[in-house]
Amino acid sequence: MKTIDFILNGKPIRSELSADRRFLDVLRKELGLTGAKEGCGEGECGACSVLLDGKIVQSCILPLASVDGKTVMTIEGYKKTKKFKAIETAFLKEGASQCGICTPGMVMATEYLLKNNPAPSYDEIRHGLSGNLCRCTGYNMIFNAIRRAAKEGEGLW
């Protein structure tokens, strides 16, 4: 039996599932991690965003094959980090989450953005979040939250 091995939130996982399975299904159905959400199933909305070797990807169009030998971080692992706390506080203070369905994905996008650019401009934030759709907030409060996280979490990224 061919297996696919990867590190998920710091723990090694050996999967015997078929390599063409959507990684989102593996997370949600097989591993019971429901923090990544399915909004569209076509890589358009970003609610299913996870970090693959530290890079944001959409897990709904990620074949299980693509995680072989790699490291994956989902919101379940990320929420235990200091950086998450800074983002969480900023999102709460700025009202960046309304219905919440896009929020775990937004958090992952924020991490990826700040890792590459610890003090992003509004324009850089706009493009950094352009793969994560939100229908509630009109995004402005999310922009402010990211600016706040960058400022108050200075040194973390």
Binding site: G35, E76, S97, Q98, C99, R135, T137
Partner: protein, 699 residues
């Protein structure tokens, strides 16, 4: 000094959403749970000749109209919308049956093997088949038009808009106590419960509906969930096991309700001084295949015919036309965005035709306290539009920009709209249809539980209701609890719609809180209830549609600045300045969050969100083709609130949620008009449409 209620606190349920711990419908699995997939009509209109079902493996079921114990219609206002199509179908995507079983792969195969043959009939797609006509008159419009110095006439058109909540619709149902329990993504637990009771012929205690975390709704989860809730209840009763029915994105976009496309005819009778003496209007909305809530949507649209203007003589007619397309329904604003687009554009177009300055012209017609509404009701409360206008003109530098952008070579524009929104149900709806009841319970630890059916779908009542009670009782918010409603425990405080949650339900909660405070005995359990009483001053005649359509109105002004690319005709909506009178914000940030979100939806409605069908089949049915704004598209928002407490609202609060969307589109469209030097009569003003306008020589 007491802390101002509007001062924002952290969103109390934000934490579990940010960490991904909030449980949405699709996150739930139950022991022995089955899955359901819907078989749908592939034709727009016809009779079902034959359904061929493959031999079903053990443990797999079909569920269709024959399995319905009582009524095969979705209990709403009319009895025309079937739970499952029986004999005939009236739109592509109409549900015919469910395939239920334990393995989704097997279900998928069965679905692929079900063959349905039809006798096709000629479908209707144009607005010709009226199923409901409404009309009201104020003053003597006949006379006004007869005496008119000039009659100005224009036609306006608005398109579909899809709610595009990021979480598709879904439910899990399971058998409980010889009845059925449903957990789902819903706005209105009691709508679902009452619909299921009707379809199942079940007593009140047999149907239980629980709200899961809701990933956006915007009206899209007002009435549509009743349909799938009924289907799932039928399935649960037949199979006797938990079943999950969650839509895929494309399925959701193809079959669920949308904002009604509308065609609006406007006529104005203008006197010698240029003043509008009378308005005649007809609005036709495309209801889709079944009536659903279309009649009420039509009514709210018509009631906005004179928007925030005082016109002495008005005749407004409207029709709901049925077509063989997906049924349309509730979407934030509920008919008002269509009409407000028309009237705001119309007033500007009249002013231009008369050679008047549009802003001054609009101000001359602005509604004032004490004026009569379009239906002859009274604007009883102060109207602060003048003050609001002064603020927003200054903040946006409107005059300077408007002047600078007169230069046709800069391709920039600034537009302004003002508008009102009636709070709560129309007319006597709250009193006669909804009859809200709410309950508060104090436990023996002196913690207070808010037992209402209001749903937090992102708009914040879990924060604001708790804040309201905590503030009135002067206790910490941590001692006030508000869980997702479960009809077993909460009273029917009505649906979470119509910008009524804070003003109407919150008003009752505030009253009950005061009662609780009066009867408070520490350490003792105590339950208080309140129910809705219509304010004495509200007089409404539903038959003639005259009187006070709403007990109160919220007000807003949007100013939008755009740039149009002359090579690609793309519109960049750069900035929006917005000011709202929602009475009193129970939490400033919650209301400002509503503002940002509503405005972004208005920008999408005005420019990006094109949806059309070809012979009843929707062409833009996923998030790639149906374009909603991304973070890179959304304008910079500059929002302000102005206090104008409404005596009967809690702390003076009025409605807020819909207000932030209803008037945005005309402000965007007017800005585009200035940028391109052409008039806009229909939205969305896509680049393709702007190209046609800009390449058209005479204008």
């Amino acid at each position: 000094m007491k802390r101002d209620i509007s001062k924002s606190i952290d969103n109390v349920e934000g934490r579990e959403k940010i960490s991904g711990e909030a449980i949405y419908t699709s996150d739930i699995t139950m022991e022995g749970m089955l899955y359901a997939k819907t078989i749908r009509s592939t034709i727009a209109k016809g009779r079902i000749r034959h359904i061929s079902i493959p031999s079903m493996p053990k443990g797999y079921y079909t569920v269709d109209a024959a399995d319905i114990p009582a009524e095969n219609y979705v209990h709403m206002l009319h009895e025309d919308w079937p739970v499952f199509a029986e004999n005939s179908v009236n739109h592509i995507g109409e549900p015919i049956m469910l395939i239920v079983g334990p393995d989704k792969e097997v279900i998928k195969d069965i679905v692929g093997d079900v063959k349905i043959t039809y006798d096709e009939q000629t479908p209707v797609f144009d607005l010709s088949d009226s199923h409901k006509a409404l009309e009201f008159t104020k003053g003597n419009p006949k006379h006004a038009f007869k005496k008119a110095h000039k009659i100005i006439t224009y036609d306006y058109e608005t398109s579909y808009q899809e709610q595009t909540y990021i979480e598709p619709q879904g439910f899990i149902g399971y058998p409980e106590n010889d009845g059925v329990t449903l957990i789902g993504s819903i706005q209105c637990p009691y709508y679902v419960k009452n619909a299921v009771k009707t379809t199942m012929g079940m007593d009140d205690d047999k149907v239980r509906v629980i709200q899961a975390a809701v990933g956006g709704a915007f009206g899209g989860k007002e009435e549509y969930p009743s349909l799938i809730g009924c289907q799932l209840a039928v399935a649960v009763a037949k199979v006797g096991k938990p079943i999950k029915l969650v839509f895929e994105r494309e399925e959701d976009m193809e079959v669920t309700t949308k904002r009604h496309p509308a065609k609006i005819h406007m006529e104005a009778a203008v006197d010698e001084t240029g003043h509008i003496r009378g308005i005649r209007s007809h609005i036709g909305i495309d209801g889709g295949a079944y009536m659903g809530l279309s009649q009420v949507v039509l009514s709210r649209g018509m009631l906005a015919v004179t928007n925030a203007y005082t016109i002495d003589h008005v005749n407004c007619k409207g029709d709901v036309y049925l077509t063989n397309t997906v049924p349309n329904g509730a979407f934030r604003g509920f008919g008002a965005p269509q009409m407000i687009f028309a009237i705001e554009m119309f007033i500007n177009h009249i002013a231009e035709d008369l050679g008047e300055n549009p802003l001054e012209y609009k101000m001359r017609h602005m509604a004032a306290q004490g004026d009569l509404t379009a239906t002859g009701g009274v604007f009883r409360d102060p109207i602060l539009l003048n003050e609001m206008l002064e603020t927003i003109m200054e903040d946006s530098a409107y005059h300077e920009k408007h002047k600078a952008y007169q230069d046709p070579d800069v391709f920039k524009g600034i537009g302004m709209s003002w508008f009102l929104h009636g709070c709560g149900f129309t007319g006597s709806g709250e009193q006669e249809k909804i009859r809200a009841r709410i309950r508060l319970k104090k436990d023996d630890k002196d913690d207070v539980h808010i037992l209402i059916a209001a749903v937090d779908m992102g708009q914040g009542p879990k924060t604001t209701m708790r804040k309201l009670v905590a503030s009135l009782l002067e206790i910490p918010i941590e001692n006030v609890h508000f869980k997702n409603p479960d009809t077993r425990y909460v009273t029917d405080s009505g649906p979470t719609v119509a910008s009524r949650t804070m003003m109407v339900v919150g008003g009752l909660v505030a009253r009950a809180t005061r009662k609780l405070s009066e009867q408070w005995v520490s350490g003792q359990e105590l339950v208080v209830e309140e129910s809705y009483r219509q304010p004495d001053y509200v007089k409404w005649d539903q038959d003639t549609m005259t009187g006070d359509a709403y007990p109160a109105y919220s007000w807003g002004i949007n100013v939008t600045e755009v740039a149009v690319d002359p090579n690609t005709y793309e519109v960049k909506v750069k900035d929006m300045w917005n000011i709202y009178d929602v009475g009193k914000a129970i939490d400033e940030r919650v209301v400002l969050g509503q503002a940002d979100g509503g405005q972004a939806q208005a920008v999408g409605y005005a420019t990006l969100e094109k949806m059309e069908h070809n012979a009843g089949k929707l062409l833009q049915k996923n998030l790639t083709d149906y374009i909603i704004p991304t973070a890179a598209d959304t304008p910079r928002m500059h929002n302000k609130l102005i206090d104008n407490p409404y005596p009967l609202g809690p702390y003076g609060a009025k409605g807020a949620g819909e207000l932030t969307l209803v008037g945005g589109a005309p402000s965007v469209a007017l800005a585009i008009e200035q940028a391109i030097g052409r008039r806009i009569y229909k939205i969305p003003a896509t680049p393709e449409h702007l190209m046609e306008l800009m390449n058209h020589e005479d204008h």
